[in-house]
Symmetry: C2
Subunit: 111 residues, 2 copies
DNA sequence: ATCCAGTACTTGGCCATACATAGTACTTTC
DNA sequence: GAAAGTACTATGTATGGCCAAGTACTGGAT
């Protein structure tokens, strides 16, 4: 029972939300996302991100196209499908509710 | 890949935070917590709450005392240990950081 | 007194997902 | 052509919420 472990648990599900958000703003590939997540202090490793992207793609929320790169292997540029866009909207509501709930619990004084 | 499932994942870790918060405000027993969590729309079932309480107690963050009840079996009234209090403070920071991160990602405009 | 409903708590198995770690494949540079 | 860097893949582990069934105690109905 340590903070690190709890943080990992807290991240579950939230990551999915963050990634859909990043992609919704324009086409990006995995390293772009890693950079941004790191900048936002949502420390994430490759082995977490790639499987998640595959999962989202298989679920029909994402699609990608290969783009040649001058500095290495080709890259998968992702964007949201229409379904992904809808899903993200639902997810946003869910997340906002959750944050509101914790605030409600936090600020309530005892009876 | 549905909203319901993602919500479950999002709840991981957050629940622990909410429960410690509720207990930090004064001695309560499980049904009190369930009521409050339900009121805050953090729908939770017995089979989730009780094991969590046991885990927190075994980790030394909680302690309880039995109190007789006039309308049923005796109740376990929980309160935070000193260690639990410290842990909750750390958890609060972690949580605030996470919320900030998601907001950062959400409001950032694309380059 | 006996049975039933309500309350409080317990237990065991299932499943999704983040993480660690190692591995593949391609490109550029020396 | 060997080494370093980039992009992506695959496998096994652990955590924790959820479901469902079960125990134990109380008080009221028959």
């Amino acid at each position: 029972m340590n903070l690190e472990n709890t943080l990992v648990q807290m991240r579950k599900g939230i990551l999915e939300y963050c990634i859909l958000h990043i992609i919704s703003r324009g086409e990006v590939y995995a390293s772009d996302m890693l950079d941004e997540l790191t900048a936002a202090k949502m420390i994430v490793v490759e082995g977490t991100l790639y499987p998640l992207l595959t999962r989202l793609k298989n679920a029909g929320l994402l699609e990608y196209k290969w783009v040649e790169s001058k500095s290495g292997p080709p890259r998968k540029y992702y964007k949201l499908t229409e379904e992904g866009d809808t899903f993200l909207k639902g997810l946003s509501d869910t997340w906002e509710d959750l944050v509101r709930s914790t605030q409600m619990i936090k600020t309530k004084s005892n009876s």
